[in-house]
């Protein structure tokens, strides 16, 4: 598997850098051309979460790429998967899913277009429902353990949180 991953990764690099693909970084725009990520509504978040770039440009090294693949692979445990899912859905990186995060998440799920967005009243109601069901300690936000609790009730998660090369 790592061979094919290496191949796919080096294909993203310009020709002259292919020799040292292990040390090169692929810019975000290039990563997003991967067919596996191209249409994913969470593509920016995925790049952001797995990138170790110091400058914050979300570029990926080969190791980041492998990290991403291993999280999205079959062999990753459900805990790891839900951990990273939580971080992907945590749009403002503050360690909790608050109302804003949930709103963005729902927007990603339903599409960003004008006609596919929910009205603000619907959104309010939906987020209220989500919080009512999953916010166990009633602090108005969903934290990691609450999120993992929800995930544990949804056995489909492990098979759907998966990207294969």
């Amino acid at each position: 598997a790592s061979q094919s991953a290496y191949k796919r990764f080096s294909e993203l690099l310009p020709k002259e850098e292919r020799e040292n693909a292990c040390s090169a970084r692929v810019p975000k725009s290039q990563i997003l051309t991967l067919p596996e990520l191209r249409a994913n509504p969470f593509q920016h978040r995925i790049c952001h979460v797995f990138s170790t770039s110091e400058t914050g440009d979300d570029s990926m090294s080969f190791e980041d790429f492998l990290d991403m693949l291993s999280v999205f692979s079959d062999s990753a445990t459900s805990d790891i998967k839900s951990h990273y899912a939580f971080r992907i859905f945590d749009f403002d990186d503050d360690g909790i899913l608050d109302r804003k995060d949930l709103e963005q998440l729902v927007n990603c799920l339903t599409g960003q277009g004008e006609e596919s967005r929910l009205s603000s009243a619907e959104m309010e109601q939906l987020i209220q429902n989500i919080l009512e069901e999953s916010d166990i300690d009633k602090d108005g936000t969903i934290n990691l353990s609450e999120f993992q609790h929800v995930v544990s009730r949804s056995p489909d998660f492990a098979s759907s949180f998966k990207i294969v090369l």
Partner: protein, 864 residues
């Protein structure tokens, strides 16, 4: 697992007090330590502006200087530069850390703990912004000694080092860290290990090195091998494309199909290897002519081939006169028997696995599983096709809207009259569906008897009678294809309250229909064909099953053509509002189960049937794939894939395989094999072959143990009686354990709820305190300096609050618990109101305890 709680305590005011100070400070620190590997910063990078803090500790402090057991918690109150009490909150995990340092798995059980530090650091930094600049400088230097992240890493390394290699690898894999970070940890662990082993002495090193080298090369070899097999994986790409366009639910059908295909390949190989190949050695010439129609009917020429039971010899096959011989009877019965045992075990274990994975929580929480929280993990990352993504988003949109309106209108209840009406409709539908099934069975029964007579009369292999034999399987397949449509129409009439009910009821009816048809056929084979005057009834049954399998396969192909291709043509040209057809997963899977059942029944009568089924499944796979991609659209409703897969495997085990086993059992133990054909000719039953073999074995002393096992275990009723009693007892005990666990989970859940309430209450209290304090300090001018120092002993009361968790537990037992347990305590404490500071300190202390307790509960509640 800690930092979420920080947020709860954090005063929202702090968010607004961000200044540029922090940025300056952060960047200067970054420059100072910028020589670190780039990978480490990922977590911090993604979680906040504060990078490269944690990673620097190993450099700033030599590892030995800060041993895992540094009395860190003790010097915290005095040396801590964070006068502000909020800082303490971000460090709440220290006591816990110290306590649990030696439990190796503690950190690893909570994969977040390591990542947490970054989160808590983040909030921590935000709070620090409020401090004057000179204090910050001091803080940044002294945090190096007292940061929990560092000691946490020490702990982690220590605990990892004390594990065995295998455990360590597993634990490392469980950590949600980047590769660079993991590598760093691993290197440290290895260093630690070498340090430890040096203490112990290095006499064994040479031997151990040898062993380690061997282990490493062995592992490399294993990796290379798995890599190689990975490339061999068939249909990887096909499955990926299907998943990309249609999502996990449709994919599960193909995975199931592939699984069944593997099953059949395995069984074909076994049968071919142990039954057919030896038979080839003793083959007799086949003097029947081949006409072509036999491919459909399975009769005629095939009658005298290895395809059927009747052709196999009952002799012992041996190449040389006195060489080792091969007993065909035993080979036949043991191959089939062992195959079924293996099948049973595989199904049982995979079902148990699925059950434990998918039904762990559902029973307890089935009440509050709803659509809304499912949204959190509903996105199918398999879908990568752009159009499919758009479609999925659209579907989710309508689903959410439907869900919202459903929630709003859910409250309307039915009157008594309506309820009776509904019940009557359901009852009628059930009567109708059961009546159809019974009618279908009767029809099949009389048709098959008719068929048998016809076959017995026109015994010669003329074309007409051969074609007539095809009537039965065609009728059966027609019934199997058409009646489900009737059932789904009935289901639409019934107007179920939830789509889940609809699916389950339809599946149940289909299963009843299919299994009763198979049942009536089995009755016909075992009771009528077996006692008929035919030459070789086993071959007749084998032919019947062959035809059924083949015609079913053809109908499956036709179903794809008519049900999907023509439906698409109609839906896109004639009747536009019909649209593209959806792939009906439930019905397709039931078809698969049906044909697999037929194959299993047929194995005894036609040992090569799995091979034929294998080819059929292979073709079905490709036809379905093409038809799906050309004609269908992804299913609109959310399909609970994992649970459905579990129930399908359950169906494959429970009516299907168990039914087959009973049929096989009756055939082997009760029925008399034909006199003139097959490996068991002349015996009173097939099982008599085993009895005779045991009798022969009794004369050999070397094989006494086989005889002993046979007499004392297999034919001994007492043994089975004891065994089943034992199993029943164990089952009962487990059942009780489960019940206990359920109560425990409920209790813990309640505790979490209460802890949450406590927390909310305390937060409100704190905010009120702070507001009051701020106003008072604004009045008092320089009150801040004083207050920051007077918060130091604030940890002391934390230990003084007696028995908090116990108390909380007690109150939780009381279901009518409404009043907050601490409100009374706080309000009654006399020093609460007069002085602000001690009161606040007490509140913080309480908050700390509450949070620790909540953490403890929380971890228990989520990993029951």
């Amino acid at each position: 697992m800690h930092y979420h709680y920080n947020e709860a305590f954090e005063n929202p005011d702090y968010h607004f007090s961000e200044t540029l100070e922090i940025d300056r400070r952060g960047s200067s620190q970054r420059n100072q330590f910028s020589h670190q590997t780039p990978y480490d910063s990922s977590l911090h990078g993604s979680y906040g502006e504060h990078r490269g803090r944690e990673q620097n500790y190993p450099v700033a402090i030599p590892m030995s200087s800060l041993g895992p057991g540094s009395d860190y918690s003790q010097n915290l109150p005095s040396t801590s530069p964070y006068g502000n009490f909020t800082d303490n909150i971000s460090f709440e995990s220290e006591p816990e850390l110290i306590h649990t340092r030696h439990s190796t798995l503690h950190l690893l059980d909570y994969p977040y703990t390591h990542g947490i530090s970054s989160g808590s650091e983040d909030s921590f930094i935000r709070r620090r912004n409020r401090r004057p600049p000179d204090e910050i400088f001091m803080a940044s230097s002294s945090t190096l000694e007292t940061d929990p992240a560092c000691s946490k890493e020490e702990d982690l390394v220590g605990s990892l080092a004390s594990m065995s290699t295998n455990e360590r690898m597993k634990a490392m894999q469980k950590m949600p860290e980047t590769m660079g970070k993991k590598r760093e940890i691993r290197n440290k662990v290895l260093k630690e290990i070498t340090k430890r082993s040096r203490h112990r002495g290095a006499q064994l090193s040479c031997c151990r090195q040898c062993l380690q080298g061997a282990a490493v090369s062995f592992r490399r070899f294993g990796n290379a091998l798995s890599e190689y097999f990975h490339q061999l994986r068939v249909w990887h790409k096909t499955l990926k494309i299907i998943g990309a366009e249609f999502g996990t639910s449709v994919l599960s059908y193909f995975v199931f199909l592939k699984w069944l295909l593997n099953f059949n390949i395995f069984s074909f190989l076994i049968n071919f290897g142990f039954i057919t190949i030896p038979q080839f050695l003793a083959a007799e010439p086949n003097n029947l002519s081949f006409m072509g129609l036999e491919l459909l009917t399975g009769a005629g020429y095939f009658q005298q081939t290895v395809l059927y039971y009747g052709f196999y010899t009952n002799a012992t096959i041996s190449k040389t006169e006195n060489g080792p011989s091969y007993n065909m009877q035993l080979a036949y019965i043991f191959t089939v028997g062992i195959y079924f045992v293996i099948c049973f075990l595989i199904l049982l274990f995979s079902m148990a696995k699925f059950f434990s994975r998918n039904f762990t929580n559902s029973e307890l929480f089935s009440v509050n599983i709803q659509v809304a929280s499912k949204l959190l993990c509903i996105w199918d990352f398999n879908i990568t096709n752009e159009k499919a993504v758009k479609l999925k988003q659209k579907n989710l949109h309508t689903q959410i809207k439907e869900g919202l309106t459903e929630v709003n209108t859910e409250v309307l209840s039915f009157s008594v009259k309506e309820r009776v009406l509904r019940l009557a409709i359901h009852l009628l539908a059930w009567v109708a569906s059961l009546g159809t099934a019974v009618a279908a069975c009767t029809g099949v029964y009389f048709l098959s008897i008719n068929n048998l007579e016809l076959f017995m009369k026109g015994h010669r292999s003329d074309l007409e009678s051969q074609t007539a034999t095809l009537v039965l399987p065609v009728i059966v397949s027609l019934l199997n294809t058409l009646i489900p449509f009737f059932f789904s129409w009935l289901g639409h009439l019934e107007k179920f309250q939830t789509p889940g009910q609809h699916i389950y009821v339809t599946i149940a009816r289909n299963i009843i229909l299919k299994m009763s048809i198979v049942g009536i056929l089995c009755y016909y084979w075992l009771n009528i064909v077996a006692t008929s005057q035919s030459q070789c009834w086993e071959t007749l049954v084998g032919q019947d099953i062959y035809r059924l399998v083949l015609v079913d396969f053809i109908f499956c192909l036709l179903g794809s053509f008519f049900g999907e291709f023509l439906r698409r043509i109609i839906g896109t040209t004639v009747c536009m509002n019909l649209g593209l057809p959806e792939f009906d997963i439930g019905r397709s899977v039931l078809d698969l189960i049906y044909s697999q059942t037929l194959t299993w029944i047929g194995i005894l009568f036609s040992p090569l049937l799995p091979g034929i089924q294998m080819i059929a499944f292979f073709i079905v796979f490709f036809v379905k794939k093409v038809s799906l991609r050309r004609n269908c659209q992804p299913p609109r409703k959310v399909w609970r894939t994992a649970q459905m897969t579990t129930s399908f495997i359950f169906l494959l085990l429970c009516p299907s395989l168990l039914g087959v086993l009973s049929v096989i059992g009756v055939t082997v133990w009760r029925l008399k094999p034909s006199k003139e054909c097959g490996p068991f000719r002349g015996l009173s039953s097939m099982y008599a072959a085993v009895t005779e073999w045991i009798q022969i074995l009794e004369s050999y002393t070397a094989s006494k143990w086989v005889v002993w096992i046979y007499h004392n275990l297999i034919t001994n009723q007492l043994f089975f009686f004891i065994l089943s009693t034992f199993v029943l007892i164990v089952t009962y005990i487990y059942w009780q354990i489960i019940r206990g666990r359920k109560t425990m989970t409920k209790l813990l859940l309640k505790q979490i709820n209460n802890a949450g309430k406590d927390k909310q209450f305390l937060r409100r209290k704190l905010q009120a305190e702070q507001r009051a304090k701020r106003s008072s300090s604004a009045r008092g001018g320089r009150g801040q300096q004083r207050s920051s120092s007077s918060y130091h002993p604030s940890r002391q009361p934390a230990q003084e609050v007696p028995g908090y968790p116990g108390r909380a537990f007690d109150t939780n037992q009381n279901t009518s618990y409404n009043e907050h347990p601490f409100s009374a305590e706080i309000l009654s404490s006399s020093d609460f109101l007069p002085g602000w500071e001690p009161g606040a300190a007490r509140a913080v202390a309480l908050a700390l305890r509450a949070r620790e307790a909540a953490l403890a509960e929380d971890s228990g509640g989520f990993q029951p």
